[in-house]
Symmetry: C2
């Protein structure tokens, strides 16, 4: 076994030190699945620590799904925990059309609107107005916090969603992923703990991992994150922040209840941590009730609000913003410098006009109409397949999150769909610890209703054909 | 004193573990300037290590300027080593015009051409051609490695500078700073060692620090980095990479000799490390001889070539590229994902045409002409002031790196210039360990010849007035 080092001078309690190190050895595969951990007694003796310390560490490992106990036999490492990087690589490639996806493949994988929905003409005009008005100044280094008129427009924009803030709290960023990266740089030091929803956005996971964070996952219930488990982890681990997508979550489509939003903000205050709210799709609500971001509930200045303009406007803008709690403004600015100094002035200036002159409203109305149609179409199709699938109906956004029945593995399913010309995303990549392998994310962001119909038909074929054609056993009738 | 932890199971030799920890305590100020380290004997005893181990660690600290020895007395922490973050913040602010810089202030601080020199009309036309041709596709997520036609154009472009590579080695990035960030993410893990030139670009330092790197500085000679000291450090520390700016270095303006470039590549191969070549200004040579990047000398695939289009074209493009050694291609791609997924498609497509149709050549010729004039003007002015300054004549780029005589402190000098309407950069921010405090970087990137004349006049006034008007002593006549 790898060497475990206990440092009694550290502030971290010893059982947590032991837990973290065992966790890491399990994740990196040096303690392989099925490995039997030393008995509590022998571990305690070897490390010169209390028996209760080891008991606590093992219990935490079990609670977090790293090990299981067989009564009378011992403690064993669970299957499927080693972080699966290969799959992520597969998906990267497929999302960027580098695997040989046949022409005409139907894309239930993309989180981006199809380009025909982009407000290109409006934007082309705005760009030209800016070029004429600002000339070279549009191509200079900009204020690293963002072009001031844009930050003022953003102030008005967020007010529509119940957010009151100041222009000095707004940090412009080059897209949502950069926002995650900037916050990670500012807040995560090697070995710090953070909390994410389970499942969550895979490239956020990658960003946190890249900073050397210890990542704790908390399950999502239908109305949002599991508050009890969260509070338990906040108490034990004092994480730097909690990363959440409360509005039409990626990949599950879940919308947090207002009650949960309020509780969450309260917990952040109580345990002196921050909430990183990634709000990429709040505009795309299919319900009649108003949806407010977590930030609108933020009495305590504990929410870092991150908004990308990529998903519902255009990815190519490479534009978004953070609303920073007072205390974090300067550390985000510094991280922004290190990351890319400044965001494109041309895009900032054009987008300022787009917000300022309310051109965005027309676009959002149009997109909402189209998305609702696609959402309904996919609902209709999936409902017909519900003997194979379990899923909830999302209240907005782009995604259906479906659980395959009948022991299907999502990766196999993905492969069979691809062979027939349909791209889906296996759910595995949205989990830090890989246990569930039977989820799919189906997106209707980039397919029109005809394509959705065809895609559903492929799903039906793959499902009805079953997974067993090359296996040795047949279903029992 | 902070607790020093020696881990005998680590691969790192014990004297290096001791060195790194002491170094960190000195840098973070927990061992303050003037602090007397424990005697070698007592340190050895306390840690349970050999005397020779402590001797080696102390010697290394001394070699790197962290401590000094007083014979018969002991080993003391040097002055001015604590990383000076406040100054960097000052400069950030001033470079972004957030300190109350009076209108009409002459800017010898900027590294960016003045916007009147940008090829705005050409670019506006290209942008419009792309908008018409590609419409929404210009605003989609792009291939994370970069838009393929642009990568092909880059291939042809670098061939002009003697670089032969393949399109699969080219990674498009959103500006030079992002390139540094991407390479840092891919290669630096917490506690890894890297080497930089002394002095070096401050936001590269910040990026490496942000990844938790141990940074070693190697002095620059007139023909490039000090090879002997470098080899010594490579031998001892096995750094992940060496960050260099061989062509018209920032801030010194130094151009490496071809001989040194060759040696450097050989050393990287010998010690199995990489060279990160930041090549922001090779186009702006004022000599008749051809200048080739380090990458052109790279027989061993050891050079990571990083090129920004910000400095000699337009910062607002937020565009540049990396040529990655074969082995690093996929780790850079992954880091690019985590950083911002993709670079603006519109800019990539417009810049592709700009390269492909050789529009850039006309622009560079124009800029070179203007820069040469400014360079000459500043030379003339500074030469008249050479009783106050020491400096070398750069062979290209934007910068004069001058050493103040007469015990001037650069920060005081900066302040006095600012009061009179001239912005200069104190050299302190380009050093990791702050020892020298009497250097200035004077840039002629954004001032026309009239402004340079005025700026020089202000320098003359500040210098001739002297630094002592409010002091209690007068010059001895």
């Amino acid at each position: 076994m790898n060497k475990i080092v206990i440092d009694r001078n550290k502030e971290t309690p010893i059982y947590l030190q032991l837990y973290s190190q065992l966790k890491r050895f399990i994740e990196n595969g040096s303690l392989p699945p099925g490995y039997k951990l030393p008995t509590i007694r022998s571990m305690a003796k070897e490390l010169g620590v209390n028996i209760i310390t080891v008991v606590n560490a093992y219990r935490l490992l079990e609670e977090n799904g790293y090990v299981y106990t067989r009564v009378g036999s011992g403690t064993y490492v669970c299957e499927g925990i080693q972080r699966d990087r290969d799959l992520i690589e597969d998906i990267e490639l497929s999302e960027h059309r580098e695997i040989p996806v046949k022409k005409g493949t139907i894309n239930f994988a993309s989180s981006s609107l199809n380009p025909e929905l982009f407000p290109v003409d409006e934007f082309a005009e705005l760009i030209n107005r800016v070029l004429k008005r600002d000339r070279g100044y549009a191509f200079e280094y900009q204020d690293s916090r963002g072009y001031k008129p844009l930050r003022e427009s953003i102030l008005k924009f967020v007010r529509l969603y119940g957010i009151e803030t100041g222009v000095e709290n707004i940090q412009v960023i080059s897209g949502g992923q950069q926002g995650i990266d900037v916050v990670s740089k500012a807040l995560i030091n090697f070995g710090d703990t953070i909390v994410v929803e389970r499942p969550t956005y895979s490239w956020a996971l990658a960003s946190f991992q890249s900073r050397g964070a210890d990542i704790l996952e908390v399950n999502l219930n239908k109305d949002g994150i599991d508050i009890e488990d969260l509070e338990d982890k906040l108490k034990k681990f004092k994480p730097k922040f909690i990363y959440v997508m409360p509005n039409f979550h990626n990949p599950t489509g879940i919308l947090y209840s207002d009650e949960k939003k309020e509780k969450l903000v309260g917990l952040a205050e109580k345990y002196e941590t921050y909430l990183l709210e990634d709000d990429f799709a709040i505009e795309l609500s299919f319900t009649e009730t108003d949806v407010f971001p977590l930030k609108a509930f933020d009495k305590y200045d504990r929410v870092i609000y991150l908004k990308s303009f990529s998903k519902v406007h255009m990815p190519g803008l490479r534009l978004g913003f953070i609303i920073a709690p007072e205390k974090l403004v300067s550390s985000f600015l510094k991280a922004k410098y290190v990351t890319d100094l400044t965001t494109s002035g041309l895009m900032q200036r054009a987008f300022d006009l787009y917000l300022r002159e309310n051109i965005w409203k027309k676009h959002i109305e149009e997109v909402k109409g189209v998305m609702r149609e696609r959402f309904e179409k996919m609902k209709e199709g999936l409902t017909q397949l519900k003997s194979y699938f379990e899923f909830d109906i999302p209240k907005g956004g782009f995604y259906y999150w479906v659980k395959l029945k009948d022991n299907w593995k999502a990766v196999d399913f993905y492969q069979k769909c691809l062979e027939r010309g349909l791209l889906v995303v296996p759910g595995d990549m949205f989990f830090g610890i890989k246990k569930e392998d039977n989820f799919l994310r189906l997106s209707f962001a980039s397919c029109d209703v005809q394509e959705i119909e065809k895609g559903i038909e492929i799903l039906r074929q793959v499902l009805s054909e079953g997974q067993n054609e090359n296996e040795m056993y047949l279903p029992i009738i």
